[in-house]
Subunit: 337 residues, 2 copies
């Protein structure tokens, strides 16, 4: 039987959907139910990974250490995974995760900046961890560029390469092109991380499988940044129907979703106007508020601002550009009026 | 530029999501905003179509006549469409719709029973309406069977054939197989109607296009029975990105969704445990409550009951079977315990 490995990131990416406010007890409960359901790997922590709890990224209800400790005591079979975005998290943070038994680290960089993850992958491998190179905002680079960056991660010692559609901006053809390119470039398993901004989280996972991906992300109830991730129980149902083995008990994750996770949610995980605008524009979700403010100030449509930012492949740290773009659009509007 | 025709069914299938309780004023407001956004065809009425307002299918807030009148006064450009399920609606009901300017009728039958729609298609064509043959629960028949039924509709005079995934049970490959088979069998445009129970409403629409479909259904905010339909504004965004022309102003439908429709919703349109069970099992959504009751009574899992009903291709009217299946499963459980 064909196998797909699932990494559950309810307790990391899903934290965005609850403003990182789950308690260690709630996190431990969900982790134990995921473990019982046969989910092989679970990722835990602040939505922005190790060290994410901060003024800039939002304070979590508890520290990395508190979450990791609670989960380490709750799980029996499942593998504990953490996300490390160099610049937000550090090797010191990773050492804390290792104290609590983390066995996998996903080193996440912007799709064109795998090189900033070299030392983290190296450290992880030297210390016996599974190391995953995770290329965020992969829609912003050509398939060839994504493949080049994947090769960098491979050269650092990564065990798996992930193509991440962080803005939920990819169409199935975009996913296939990038996963295929990475598959051809490296001799490692390839993973895919979806967001649902264009309603394609499940459809794009199927496209990824078609192109050779064998590791996929999901979250219970679809929790995640923006429009959320691939809904784990739906993904498992679809994979079951297609004859893939995941090792996950479908009914148990359905019950976990309905009985435990749904009551903890602050808002339903839907595709609202803002989430759709992000996916359509292919822009950073952190630009959203700035774009709406700038648009209001200069009398233009925030969606046009986001689309222009996406077109220019603007990245985090370039927030100044948002005002510039809004002014340019306002001037253009004045000229054509 | 490649064109896709969109039929909006927010005010018909979407009525299921609000228990058919929108007022004629609310329906007229949504219709006028869809018209302004350039949506070419809108379907209006009770969730189960003409004549649906009843004890059995749930009473709507207003009569067919009241809804049709309100909409006919609100629209300027858009084409008014009604759904007619023979056995629920009648030709007399269709005459009422024609009084208010209905120009399209979708005659909907179970996928193996196109013949019950012969007289309705014939009447519509004799009276100058556009007539669409709409094959519900298409996942229950083989592609060859669906094609055979499409040919029947064509022989009655239908202008378009729709493949409808009423339970949201199809995978992209299922959609492609059925749409392709119909395309080969008839010389008419082919349409596709999705449900989102497996998270594939948008993905399956792309599969339908790939197989040659040129008419697609959507609803604002994804409103619809079960897990809902393809979310109109998301579908338009994806089609825009792919270079298809729909004639619809994306920002206007996004605003309609956020400003008008979202505040009227009784519940968010999500994939909950029950909706997923229906899609996974490929069973009638009207079986849900009966299956849960029977399962509780006989100490089995309702999902197993639904899966068995789907496997047997049980159709509406065979509700007695639900108890039989629950008893069989309970006996089997007792034998293996």
């Amino acid at each position: 039987m064909k196998r797909i490995r699932i990494i559950d990131t309810t307790l990391r990416d899903g934290m965005h959907a609850v403003s990182h406010q789950l308690t260690p007890e709630q996190v431990a409960l969900i982790a134990s139910r995921l473990d019982e359901a046969g989910v092989g790997t679970i990722e835990v922590g602040h939505g922005d990974g190790l060290g994410g709890s901060s003024m800039q990224y939002g304070f979590a209800k508890a520290t990395d250490r508190e979450y990791l400790k609670a989960v380490s005591q709750a799980i029996k079979q499942t593998r504990l995974d953490v996300l490390l975005i160099p610049g937000i998290g550090t090797i010191e943070d990773l050492k804390v995760a290792m104290e609590y038994g983390a066995k996998t680290v996903r080193v996440a960089t912007h799709v064109t900046e795998a090189d900033v993850g070299e030392q983290h992958i190296g450290f992880a491998k030297k210390n016996g961890l599974e190391a995953i190179g995770f290329l965020m905002m992969s829609h912003m680079a050509s398939p060839e560029k994504v493949a080049e960056q994947a090769k960098l991660f491979e050269s650092y010692g990564a065990d798996i390469i992930y193509v991440a559609d962080s803005a939920g901006a990819m169409l199935p053809e975009d996913v296939k092109a990038r996963v295929s390119a990475v598959r051809s470039a490296v001799s490692l398993p390839v993973g895919f991380h979806a967001h649902n901004n264009l309603g394609l989280a499940i459809g794009n996972n199927l496209a990824a499988i078609e192109a050779g991906a064998t590791v996929l992300d999901g979250t219970v109830r679809g929790l995640g940044g923006g429009a959320g991730n691939a809904q784990l129980e739906v993904l498992v149902a679809v994979l079951n129907r297609m004859g893939y083995e995941t090792g996950i008990d479908l009914y148990k994750v359905m019950d976990l979703s309905e009985e435990v996770v749904a009551p903890l949610m602050q808002r339903p995980q839907i595709i609202n106007r803002e989430a759709l605008a992000i996916g359509y524009a292919g822009a950073y979700s952190s630009f959203l508020l700035h774009a709406y403010r700038a648009a209001e100030k200069f009398g233009v449509d925030a969606r046009d601002v986001l689309i222009e930012l996406g077109r220019r492949k603007t990245v985090g740290g370039q927030e100044d550009l948002i005002i510039d773009v809004a002014i340019e659009l306002a001037n253009k509007k004045a000229r054509t009026a």
